[in-house]
């Protein structure tokens, strides 16, 4: 016990809550309050209303919600397939090769999202890839940004997987593909699910690259939220933000449920 006396312990906890609650709790509370505020001309909001949240569903923000969901799901699935494939392939390489290729796959983490968007804008506005102004370019941007996370998350899972499962499976006559689908991937399920959740959450909140490449017909939630707050509709923006958070949280909770069930031991 670092602090043996009760007084000092209570002091430490007090310090913690003085720091933690205003810094992390207050922002979320205040955005939540704004989403149901009719007016906010004093310390506390007044004329509480569900209008903003309601509007979010019926107005074009509803479309943005669906757009974000679609983008998040598609980008996560694609990123998971590429990332898992890459992680499995890299594991089969010799050390030096694995290191080089592995670095190539995680490098997008280090590139600013705005630059990723700019690159896609410049490169895909000319043959052979004419994608500027399509939804595809938004999807590609999201895939680029989350694949690196899927790759490193699955790679970490693979590294933790003891080699003897696959070896015993092979000794029992399991061919490589059979072992992959019957042993390796089932054992990797917790990592895969966690990676999927992470990818989805990141994609849902992505702003930097999307704002560079989005076409008028494919506006994601964060872009929509920015447009709203930029023209002063802050309460509507807050309502959409709350929706975004709730959606993300629901997916994360679902993921952690599946994850506990998938980790048998």
């Amino acid at each position: 016990m670092l602090l043996p006396s009760r007084v000092s312990r209570v002091g430490a906890w007090a310090l913690f809550f003085v720091l933690f609650v205003p810094v992390f709790g207050l922002p979320i509370v205040v955005v939540g309050a704004a989403s149901i505020a009719g007016q906010w001309n004093d310390v506390l909001p007044s004329h509480l209303t569900l209008r903003h949240l309601h509007d979010a569903f019926v107005s074009n923000a509803g479309v943005e919600l669906v757009t974000s969901l679609a983008t998040g799901v598609i980008a996560s699935v694609v990123a998971l397939v590429i990332g898992t494939w890459a992680a499995l392939a890299v594991r089969a390489l010799r050390r030096r090769g694995a290191k080089v290729i592995g670095t190539l796959f995680v490098l997008p983490i280090a590139v600013p999202s705005v630059s990723v968007g700019l690159g896609l804008l410049v490169a895909f506005s000319r043959p052979p890839f004419l994608l500027n102004g399509t939804a595809t370019i938004v999807l590609i941007a999201h895939v680029v940004l989350v694949t690196a996370f899927a790759f490193s998350s699955v790679s970490a899972g693979l590294a933790r997987l003891p080699a003897h499962y696959e070896q015993v499976a092979a000794s029992l006559g399991g061919r490589p593909a059979y072992v992959l689908f019957r042993v390796t991937l089932p054992l990797l399920t917790p990592s895969l699910v966690a990676a999927a959740g992470l990818c989805f959450a990141l994609s849902m909140g992505e702003l930097g690259a999307t704002i560079m490449v989005y076409p008028p017909g494919w506006v994601t939630l964060p872009v929509g939220i920015f447009a709203l707050t930029d023209r002063g509709a802050v309460f509507d923006g807050a309502a959409l933000t709350v929706l975004l958070l709730v959606l993300t949280l629901v997916v994360l909770v679902a993921v952690s449920r599946i994850r506990t069930r998938a980790s048998y031991r």
Binding site: L2, L3, S8, R9, A12, W13, L15, F16, L19, F20, V23, F24, P27, I28, V31, A34, W40, N41, D42, V43, L44, I82, W85, A86, A89, V90, A92, R94, G97, I101, L104, L107, I109, V111, P112, S113, V114, S115, L118, G119, L120, L121, V122, A123, V143, V144, F149, A156, A195, G197, L198, G205, G208, M212, P222, F226, T229, D230, V234, L252
Partner: protein
């Protein structure tokens, strides 16, 4: 085995090259393509000497380093309490920190405008107390607002590796140290801090990398005087359609952050902070 292994890399690598490295190459190419299609260093000469760029570079580095410093201090204190002065609900706090990482950064910027903005809660409080007619709090629209928002958002990125490192610290070390008569501050300095160094280095450099590239917070706060490199890229390419200028800034920004990322990986491999990798979700 290893020779046939390369066959399987080809498919994902091709996808990656097309969607990431190919665009990266075009950023580089565009950055050297001046007006009228002239290839040369002229775009760089022009951009690097502009006061817009210099100011943005300086401000970006300043904001990133101050934010990182703040994250390290706040993260260390909070992680210390959660780990070593445990209280009921400490697990909830850890879980909360985990989910905080998955939220978009602009959430904090939005909240800051409600809290500290000119029509924000604290300004109303201040005006009620002092009787002033003008909102007295205006730091949100300065670099300090951005820095505070970034500290709020990125502190969990420092806390995660720290909590992981602290959970592996043998509590017997602390018990032995206190049985030998060391006071808490001495234990923190001489037992806990050395163990936390790898996690602090890893978390700190990750933080620096992310704050260097932060876009959502700066965009949402929308302070006129606070222009960072990603904002310049956005402004040049999207608002002025000057792709070349945007690409020049992007090249500088990418070089900066890839360099930092290399440092981060180096620190992790060097200090064995790999167990506490924050990037790996």
């Amino acid at each position: 085995m290893a020779r046939t292994g390369w066959v399987w890399v080809v498919v994902p690598l091709t996808v990656l090259v097309v969607i990431f490295y190919y665009p990266l190459f075009f950023i580089l190419r565009q950055s050297f393509t001046g007006e009228g299609g002239h290839v040369g260093l002229a775009p760089y000469a022009e951009m690097l000497s502009s006061s817009l760029f210099r100011g943005a570079l300086l401000r970006t580095i300043q904001i990133a380093s101050l934010s990182t410093l703040g994250c390290l201090v706040l993260g260390f204190v909070l992680a210390l309490i959660v780990s070593f002065v445990p209280f009921p609900g400490a697990r909830v706090v850890s879980g909360f920190i985990g989910t905080f990482l998955a939220f978009p950064s602009f959430l904090i910027a939005l909240a800051f405008t409600f809290l500290y903005g000119s029509a924000g809660v604290f300004n109303f409080i201040a005006m009620d107390l002092s009787g002033a007619t003008q909102p007295p709090i205006d730091f949100v629209y300065t670099k300090w607002g951005v820095i505070l928002a970034e500290i709020t958002f990125y502190t969990p990125f420092v806390m995660r590796p720290l909590l992981a490192a602290f959970s592996q610290l043998d509590t017997a070390l602390i018990e032995v140290a206190s049985s030998l008569g060391a006071r808490p501050l001495r234990i923190i300095r001489e037992v806990i801090l050395p163990e936390a160094v790898p996690a602090l280095l890893a978390g700190g450099s990750l933080c620096l990398l992310l704050t260097l590239n932060e876009f959502g917070i700066v965009l949402f706060i929308g302070a006129k005087g606070v222009i960072t490199l990603p904002m310049v890229i956005y402004g040049k390419a999207i608002q002025e359609f000057d792709y070349t200028a945007g690409c020049v800034v992007a090249v500088v920004n990418i070089a900066l952050s890839v360099g930092l990322y290399a440092l981060y990986r180096f620190l992790i491999s060097r200090t064995g902070g790999g167990r506490a990798v924050a990037v790996q979700g």
